[in-house]
Point group: none
DNA sequence: CATAAAATGGCATGATATCCCATGAAAGCC
DNA sequence: GGCTTTCATGGGATATCATGCCATTTTATG
């Protein structure tokens, strides 16, 4: 399973091409497909969600971590599949962000890649800054939840 | 499972490189990745948290058990995963601390590694001294309380 | 069918990270 | 107590990566 970490701000050239962070590429390359699967994030308005093809397959199979039998999520999964784009790497590890996604995220000259473990997001840098501030506030307010999570992990690891 | 012990003060050279204590390295080396995963400590302001890749994977899996499009997932991912860095060893067991982490911890010429069992922290030495003094105070207070409780228990029992 | 526009692939470049070897100090060993 | 090994540290050589530029192919358009 992929583990996307860290943040990278890369330039979008005139043709809409962006270098995918080198450390992401290994996890995005498989026999099935070498590239990114991207779609407008259902959770965060201005973000693009990105993942590898295997995760998208899981979503399609309905065996993702959220409840596959719920009709609500079934609709969501279907909508995601319809809005998803396959973005293959060129020889230098770049992808082309389609106009539709660029517009959705308000990306012009720079793109922020934010690692999120099994997935990552792509943002306009300013939008990400704003989101980060917001999310950090919420995370602080809910530190108790975070602690619980950590304890679960520590328990599981021992 | 890793067991990081003791304290080490190592030099940060002109290129931002630091030797990871030799006794830490075995626990930080696996098939998946040989190096440190580091992120700003959510608890202690000026510290950097360090761990091995397996622990980070567990944390990521834990976060992934939330709905990927929920605030819980997003907030935790933003607070930890996006702020984490993979820092691979060079041939001599050194890592490069990114500018962002150096700034967060206020590290300039020296870095203090503090073993904490399954994880460790990296501090600016002065900051660590201050933290340790404070923590010692708290520990004393806890020990006193513990003593009192013990006496109560013994008193009640007799 | 011809021409312009756009997509795609390939190559060049500068910055940065990685590799490799050297040195000295400390620790362990015989 | 002298010898050997491990480790932290330094510097220069090399490779990788993001990115710009150009060539070639493909797709629209008149």
């Amino acid at each position: 399973m992929a583990l996307f970490l860290s943040r990278f701000d890369n330039k979008v050239d005139r043709k809409g091409r962006v270098s995918v962070p080198a450390s992401f590429r290994a996890d995005l390359t498989s026999d099935a497909f070498a590239g990114v699967v991207a779609f407008p994030s259902p959770g965060n308005g201005g973000a693009i969600d990105g993942c590898d093809i295997d995760r998208m397959k899981q979503l399609s199979d309905g065996i993702d971590s959220f409840n596959p039998f719920s009709n609500e999520y079934g609709d969501l999964a279907t909508a995601i599949l319809t809005k998803s784009h396959r973005l293959p790497f060129d020889g230098e590890g770049r992808i082309i962000l389609p106009q539709q996604l660029l517009a959705h995220a308000g990306i012009t000259s720079m793109a922020t890649f934010a690692g999120r473990g099994a997935t990552f997001q792509i943002w306009a840098p300013e939008a990400y800054e704003a989101y980060e501030a917001e999310a950090t506030e919420r995370a602080k307010a809910q530190a108790d939840k975070f602690e619980l999570q950590r304890r679960d992990q520590m328990g599981a690891g021992e």
